[in-house]
Amino acid sequence: MASRVYVEAEIRDHPRTERLLQRMRAPAVIEIEHYGEVFNPRSQNFRLQKKNPAVIIARKNNNHVLAAPPGYGLGGKYNYYFSHMLNCIYDCRYCFLQGMYQSAHQLLFVNYEDFAERIAELAAQHADEAVWFYSGYDCDSLANEPMTRFCEYFLPRIAAIDNAWLELRTKSTQVRALLEHPVQQRIVTAFSFSDRVSHASLEHGVPSIAKRLDAMRRLQQAGWPVGLRFDPIVYHPRYREEFVALLNQVFDSVDADAIHSVSLGSFRLTRGHFRDASRLYPDEPLFAQQMVLENGIVSYPKEREREMIDFCEQELLQRIRPQSYHPCDWHG
């Protein structure tokens, strides 16, 4: 639990702020004017701050919902993302969030209504087509659910818009809120998995694979659509055996035929994020592996990447419906 909470004065009396403060029982609540005072200054060290991140409660004033980057999505024509939080409680070395913001503090926005309004507007603009909204881009969608009650607010609102689809992307086991709601086929909870070696070395603070699979199984059994995200695949000499072992473990727990979608991609970061993350963690083997720079993206050399993706794809396609497979084609 955070030992410090910063709150924007403007939303100090907002009901969600009050509920958050009550739940966190933080010893120090510090009033600020704008979250940028704490979140944006350059003189911050993400690595050190990640040891004891504070929580910042704020209002997001613009850009509530943004167009998803090219290649992000599940093949739909209209893809948007939104972030009710910035930063994640987990500490995965391969994640672009390692180099994204100056601060490791968790920034929670309380004006859900503004996000929902924009979602409704965008869905109405493409009324005859499916519109996808991704919530797990700058944060883990569910990890802070007991605190944020994101699901409680957004699930019924998405459900009420006929052409809106929502992806919740998570590494958490927080599915209770979903299980308490009526099943909605346009809301997909996508669980990200890495093999045991990558999980142990790179996914700090992330619940075990078994616990996450249990959460996924419970959702699936309740009738909720669930997805699998094997992204990023990280190279190590035993990646083949470990990936097969992971797939076996996954499909021992969940019904492969009922999986909504599966995506697969190898490790890559933008040049800037890779540089920032490797400066923060000069001792991290992941950033010392052989990589190449192509079109502003740092990734494995083509041959290695092809070999990894081909192998994993082949193994995956033996177990899932081909139409549920969506490769992460970031080469464009």
Binding site: S3, A28, I30, P41, L48, Y235, Q289
Partner: protein
Amino acid sequence: MLIWVSALHCEAKPVIDYYRLKKSADNNPFDLYLSEGMACVISGIGKVSAAAACAWSAAQFQRRASLAWINLGTAGAGDHEIGSLFSIHQVIDADDGQRYYPAPAAADRLDGSACMTLSRPSEDYRDECLFDMEASGYMYSSLRFSSAELIRSLKIVSDNRHHKTGKDRRRVSELVQHQIDGIAQEAKSLIALNDELAALSPDAQCWQRLTELAHFSQTQKSRLRVLWRYLMNRGFDAEKLLSDLAGSPASTIISELEQTGYRDSEEL
């Protein structure tokens, strides 16, 4: 390196005694007390003095891999008890409204408070924060040289609505001395954090010897720095690497270190 910044000698004296810091005999613009890995600078009163002392100290110790800072001083308060110790979580400059936020990398052990820095002494005590004359200058300057996690401001209440200690130097030292255990605890955790960061930087002498092995362009030097930092952090023997690489051209040295790094990193 941990640098203490205090406006007055009487505020710093308990720390100087506790850590047995020795006064520098050099002709410095600020009084400076030193030991291995620690310094204490007496800035004089006011935020400009505090900022100047920080900048001067940072220049003095620029070769250190990482600098941590503690501003230790007295403050006025509305009703807080005389002698109370606070870790400042928000510093507000009364002149320009600028706010600064120290960012502890561990849960707070001390009570927290905001502190407003004034340009002139005032007896207009308010309940919501402490008052001092240095913290905003200290924050402004120290944040140029270190990240917010390595910067603390500790204030001991010397004056309130009912009692004033301010000008009684002996009494000020007693108030600080009374809190020395709490202050030393803060210093200890900050030193550990700073050491952790400093350990990520390779030894300066080895780095210099490496760059003297061949002629490296600036681009090559950047790559070399990344590779060397990684290998040193992974516990490779610097002496052995330097001896193995001696006599090779720059491109070969980089290629050799890259291959060593690739082999080491594959296992994650």
